[in-house]
């Protein structure tokens, strides 16, 4: 017996549409950023001479953090300025307003995948210390993309070594443990 009612046709149509959206959804991704490396425990030397203060400024290893990630074609298409921006801020648990955090990057590369005409991707900025504000993002560096997007394009960026610096360390700052989370965010510039 053949069932061909209007009701079942409607159900079948909805299933097809759902499948199409599922397929699109599976193929699309979003820009990503990954923080590799380790957390930073600032090594503050012990004061042994009365009258002296801390040096005040301390730096992490140059490769404390390694940033990497991916910019899919769907995201690149949305970049009106042709650049993605990595921003940074920090979210303290315990902090003091005399303490200031900075970040700078060294190295890193951006690679284009897929069929792309005259495409280039470069990492720019962030090679001198940028102060990391609390709560509000500030620009750290950009990943600039030029060219005509083709099929299956994406830009992956890797090996962006990031160094942190803290200043304002002093005996004037109350003696306790300070803790904050440095957050890197990627989005359109």
């Amino acid at each position: 017996m053949k069932i061909n009612s209007r009701f079942f046709r409607k159900i079948r149509l909805k299933k097809y549409v759902s499948c199409i959206f599922l397929a699109i959804g599976c193929c699309l991704g979003a820009q990503t950023i990954n923080v590799g490396g380790s957390n930073w425990t600032v090594s503050v030397p012990t004061i042994t001479e009365a009258g002296t203060n801390y040096a005040g400024t301390y730096e992490s290893a140059t490769n404390l953090i390694t940033l990497s990630g991916n910019l899919p074609g769907s995201f690149l298409n949305l970049l009106t300025t042709g650049a993605a921006r990595v921003s940074v801020h920090h979210t303290p648990t315990t902090w003091n307003s005399n303490l200031h955090l900075y970040a700078k990057r060294s190295g890193g590369s951006a690679t284009i995948s897929g069929l792309c005409v005259l495409c280039t991707a470069t990492i720019n900025g962030g090679t001198t210390y940028v102060e990391i504000p609390q709560a509000v993002d500030t620009a750290f560096f950009t990943i600039n993309f030029t060219g005509v997007l083709g099929l299956g394009n994406s830009v992956s960026y890797t090996g962006i070594n990031t160094q942190l610096q803290i200043s304002g360390v002093s005996v004037v700052v109350p003696a306790t443990t300070y803790n904050t989370q440095v957050v890197f965010t990627i989005g359109a510039n």
Partner: protein
Amino acid sequence: MILIRSLLLLVSFVLSGLFYSQTTVTMTLPIVTLMDIEPTGSFALNFTAPTEAGNALGNPTPNTSKWVNYTSAIAPGGLTRKITASVNKVIAGVNIRLQAAAASGAGGGTLGTSAGIVTLSTTATTIISGIGGAYTGNGANNGHALTISLTTNTYANLIAQANTAIVVTYTITE
């Protein structure tokens, strides 16, 4: 309904990328309580005998060579520090006086306040108080200059003596 669910699924896939990532920074600042007297070494204060009958002993010229240096880091809401001084013994008929000047030099923070001229005894006496998170700078010409002097008090108690060594003990405490 299925259409809405699919749209939500699509949005969730698009948003599933890692837009942000983070690392932690930790720093521990310890409590610090350090104090010393600069420069090190002893000094002599000598009364001079009068050359004219009926005159009093001549008081020695006060010593102004010593400086108090300190570094103080206190916990949030912690008590301020003070510096006390005492002598190991007193000399009959003689006052041993000490005055800490206001802090000067390369220091910073909440530096202490002088108690003015105090007469030292074997009981600790506060010479500087109200020290918060602070550092004075290191060495002579940094911190609180000390003026140490001798004066006579009750002449009847004076006894002629030579090379009476007095140890002045300075302590920083809450």
